[in-house]
Symmetry: C2
Subunit: 269 residues, 2 copies
């Protein structure tokens, strides 16, 4: 069996009803990626290799580092290693928030990076109240199956997050997988940034797992009006969605699901 890019094979002891067998097992690849902005390191993230340029592009957008993606001149792997991506911006351009060293707080669960205070967590994004898109309820219910179909690595490794962007009529625009759920979202948003499709008005983002503040914040920064997840949301994700006019759907499983914010965008026939 040829492994997908992003997965690798290791020898394991497989235990099945007490019987043991040494055999190869496919697992997801995780490696660090360092991002450098105009030669200054700004972030290290643990990611599944692949779509690294998109990941970097998305990170710039969803973390509010560039307010206008046109100031980005180049994003590319450095010559020496695939685990470093270098970003160069237009010299002298405004609208680049260079994360000051003092502002690099750590996070042990998500990417609250470059945000210096608790108060600064709600940042830079434009509220979405004006996005008048409507989404059909039956169409929403069909999206999880489309996300699963776009998850080759998950099928192989059972250990990946995924994010998928859909148009309001349910067309799959982009799907990405990663060991980090935030990376999967950044890769999707980065795809859109590189395609000059930002802000993502009229779109739906579906996330495979739980829905915390950071995912909601990233979707908001990208201008995505409808955010849906297979699992449950956190209180802060709901709060952020309600404050900013974002539609938030969670526990989207078959025909049983909940709308936590912005229910006016969902149309029931």
């Amino acid at each position: 069996m040829k492994a997908e890019p992003g997965s690798t094979s290791v020898e394991v002891v497989a235990v099945r009803a007490g019987a043991r067998e040494v055999r190869p097992e496919t697992i997801v690849v995780e490696e660090p990626l360092e991002l450098r902005l105009d030669d200054e390191p700004i972030a290290v993230t643990m990611r599944t290799p692949g779509h690294d340029v998109e990941l970097a592009a998305g990170f710039l957008v969803t973390e509010g580092i560039v307010s206008d993606f046109r100031v980005v001149n180049s994003i590319a792997h450095c010559d020496e290693t695939q685990n470093v991506v270098e970003i160069h911006t237009e010299p002298g351009a405004s609208g680049v928030r260079r994360p000051e060293a003092r502002h690099f707080f750590a996070s042990s669960s998500c990417g609250i990076c470059g945000k210096a205070t608790l108060e600064a967590l709600r940042t830079f994004a434009t509220p979405l109240h004006a996005d008048g898109v409507r989404v059909d309820a039956k169409l929403l219910e069909a999206l999880p199956a489309r996300l699963r179909a776009a998850q080759p690595l998950f099928h192989e490794t059972g250990a990946l997050h995924a994010a998928a962007l859909f148009s309001a009529d349910g067309a799959l625009l982009c799907a990405r997988e990663d060991v980090g759920r935030h990376n999967a979202v950044d890769k999707v948003v980065g795809w859109a940034a590189l395609e000059r499709r930002l802000p993502l008005a009229g779109t739906i983002l579906l996330a495979s797992g739980r829905l915390g503040f950071e995912i909601a914040q990233k979707a908001l920064a990208a201008g995505i009006p409808v955010l849906a997840a297979i699992s449950g949301p956190s209180s802060l994700a709901v709060e952020l969605a309600r404050e900013n006019g974002m539609t938030l759907v969670a526990f989207l499983r078959g025909d049983a699901w909940n709308v936590y914010a912005g229910a006016e965008r969902i149309q029931f026939s």
Copy 2:
């Protein structure tokens, strides 16, 4: 229904087979926690409130900020808010790695904080080859049910990670839940630090979700020889376990599971 601490109730539109009902739904609370070390902010993490002092204590250990927990004089919420925890160390004590501002890289999926280079990711922890503990295979298979029984918030909200520490004979020592999987591990390790039980020789840590590098690194830093997870591991977690003599079990579901490293610690009857 009285909500557990750590959960809250919000009004949602519940959709069930096309029918809609507005009703309260319980969701997990997520709020930022800022950690201050000797009056300097060192981290912000999104966490489920509760066991914050343990979370701070565990973070100090698993991120290698203190090499000997005895240098920690106090850990307490600040007077003004429950979302800031202040840590004070013995003045002039050695063995405190004060994260320099330059070293605070961000991470959008996990807590590689205060580690300035890709090379520095493998750090400070003592390898576990010398830990001669043995664990019975049948006992391992019984642990997931014990973890689930110790997850009141998950049952209520469906959106939480959990970590549980067991002795080699299967006794539950400590279980914690959090929106962030890394926080759940930090809370457990912090409990042990405050109980002066570090390093955690002869123990088993069971994590509810996927098993990436960061969780393996945190378990290694705490001296835990056997790490198990319900879902799949990443390549870097397996590599770290193999390099450092840690036993790594994943996909622990009923009587079908895999051993990725350190199989010599598992005893089959």
